[in-house]
């Protein structure tokens, strides 16, 4: 299961996405192809500021096995200031989260495969 997640480490850990220089659309997760410009796509890599806003959220009570230590946790749709929206966890108490809340990206532990298993990391967001 792991290699496909590792392949994207650069993008996950640093919040690096892409931008189409032809139309100015930003993409995160990164795309190698602009869905609007198609063959006219001019894709370059971009580091995002990490600042964004909560568009929607849910406090997750029934959680996957590898995330049970974090239960319950907050998952959110975060709109980055450059435009794209991503699904990520928030590092805050469930009662703190609000739609429209300003957040900032942070590098955090995301899950683990048992007590002696591999630990995953990912980008989460903290209240600004």
């Amino acid at each position: 299961m792991l290699p496909r997640f590792w392949r994207k480490i650069k993008y996950r850990y640093n919040l690096i996405g892409t931008k189409c220089e032809n139309c100015g659309t930003y993409y995160y997760p990164p795309r190698n192809f602009c869905t609007k410009c198609r063959r006219k796509s001019k894709i370059v890599e971009v580091k995002f500021s990490g600042r964004g806003e909560v568009v929607s959220y849910s406090v997750v009570h029934e959680v996957p096995e590898n995330m049970k230590e974090q239960k319950p946790y907050v998952i959110a749709l975060v709109k980055l200031e450059e435009g794209p929206m991503i699904t990520a966890q928030l590092v805050c108490r469930p009662e703190e989260v609000r739609v429209g809340m300003k957040v900032k990206a942070a590098f955090r532990k995301c899950g683990e495969e048992g007590e002696s298993g591999i630990i995953y990391y990912c980008t989460k967001f903290v209240p600004e």
Binding site: F5, P29, V60, L77, G111
Partner: protein, 386 residues
């Protein structure tokens, strides 16, 4: 394109079928459909099977060959194909079978849907989440329920939909299921029961979520000409339309609308020569209660944002203007992933034939909506009595 009729339907019971294997379940539905159609069996020219994840639920791929084998079709050496689109697999199989008959390629074709999920225990919920983006949604902590929960939250913030409205969908579907002997949950529940059940992913509670079920369903399609040899009550498929959308919720135009449904419905109505207001009965994909509210809107039964009004005013109850999910829907009849799209078709055919017994509604035109994951695939099928 030729006119296509449904000449036989069959369905296994849905639920936790501990005593039955995958093969048993499919066979029970298949035999019922073949008997219903009055076929001997050798007339069948092809089969399409909707199955979401035989590989992960049973460690069994090559599902179509397996079913062909145990249903006696291997002896006939006819083409049997598995079709996959997460929990829209059944709807896709129906559409492939429809196209095979409509095009003139085959005269009699089976569309089946089957899933056995209970053999993997609690892992089933996690396997169902393979219908969304594993790398960028699930890896980051999203569950299938939490994605629908975020749609629900946005719908509430934007349009004033309330948790009680969602609960009413569950209450209605449970009530309908009491009249369906094949349903998984045949018990009425109250709004209080839903509102006091534990949260799965806020604002969605346990009773907002469809179960993961075992089950199978089969419909047999024939060309109009051939159908006349087998039945006096053929139900015609007026149109079948399919559309896709971005797989991740975060990439969509508007998380409170499933554009795949909007596009598939528009196409299905156009091809059938009907409008949303002509639909008399519908089976929609209520994997979560919010999905039924959004389906009302995205199918055009009511304008965007006003879906909750239909449930509040009783419009979609069994005795309302547009009964929705008379079978009990995914919530109470059960959700056997790849079987669901076919099971919905079975219900609409029974309704249009006048064979739905206690839950019979008055209908000339019916519709099914089957979606995959959070709506990256949608299939809309329109059925009519003439």
């Amino acid at each position: 394109m030729r006119k296509v009729a449904v000449i036989g339907v069959g369905q296994s019971k849905f639920g936790e079928l501990w005593d039955y294997s995958f093969r048993d379940i499919v066979l029970s539905a298949g035999i019922e459909a073949i008997e219903d159609a009055g076929l001997e069996g050798r007339e069948i020219e092809a089969m399409y099977v909707g199955n979401m994840s035989g590989g992960r639920f049973l460690a069994q791929e090559h599902i179509a060959a397996l079913i062909a084998d145990y249903s006696g079709l291997a002896e006939l050496h006819i083409p049997c194909t598995r079709v996959e689109g997460a929990d829209a697999s059944g709807g896709l199989a129906l559409r492939q079978a429809y196209l095979a008959v409509a095009s003139g390629l085959h005269d009699i074709v089976i569309a089946a849907g089957a899933e056995k999920v209970t053999d993997v225990g609690e892992k089933a919920v996690e396997i169902l989440s393979s219908g969304v983006d594993r790398e960028w949604e699930v890896f980051n902590g999203a569950t299938l329920a939490s994605l629908f929960a975020m749609m629900a939250r946005m719908h509430m913030e934007k349009y004033g939909t309330r948790a009680e409205d969602l609960a009413m969908v569950s209450v209605k579907n449970h009530k309908n299921a009491t009249k369906n002997p094949k349903a998984q949950f045949r018990r009425e529940i109250s709004i209080d029961v839903v509102m006091n059940s534990p949260y799965v992913a806020e604002p969605l509670r346990m009773f907002d979520c469809a179960p993961v079920s075992d089950g199978a369903a089969v419909v047999i399609l024939a060309s109009e000409e051939v159908a006349k040899n087998y039945t006096d009550t053929p139900i015609y498929i007026s149109s079948s339309a399919q559309a896709c959308d971005y797989i991740a919720l975060s990439s969509r135009r508007d998380p409170t609308t499933m554009d795949a449904i909007v596009f598939a419905a528009r196409e299905a109505y156009k091809k059938a020569g009907v409008e949303a207001k002509d639909i008399d009965v519908a089976e929609v994909h209520d994997s979560y209660t919010i999905a039924e509210i959004m389906a009302y809107e995205d199918l055009g039964f009511v304008e965007k944002g006003r879906g909750a009004e239909l449930i509040r005013e009783g419009v979609t109850e069994l005795d309302g203007d547009i009964p929705v999910n008379p079978s009990g829907g995914l919530k109470a009849c059960g959700h056997a992933a790849g079987a669901t799209g076919i099971r919905q078709a079975v219900e609409i055919v029974l309704q249009l034939r006048g064979d739905a017994k206690e839950r019979q509604v008055d209908a000339e035109t019916g519709l099914t909506l089957n979606i995959g994951g959070t709506g990256a695939t949608a299939v809309v099928t329109v059925f009519r009595r003439d």
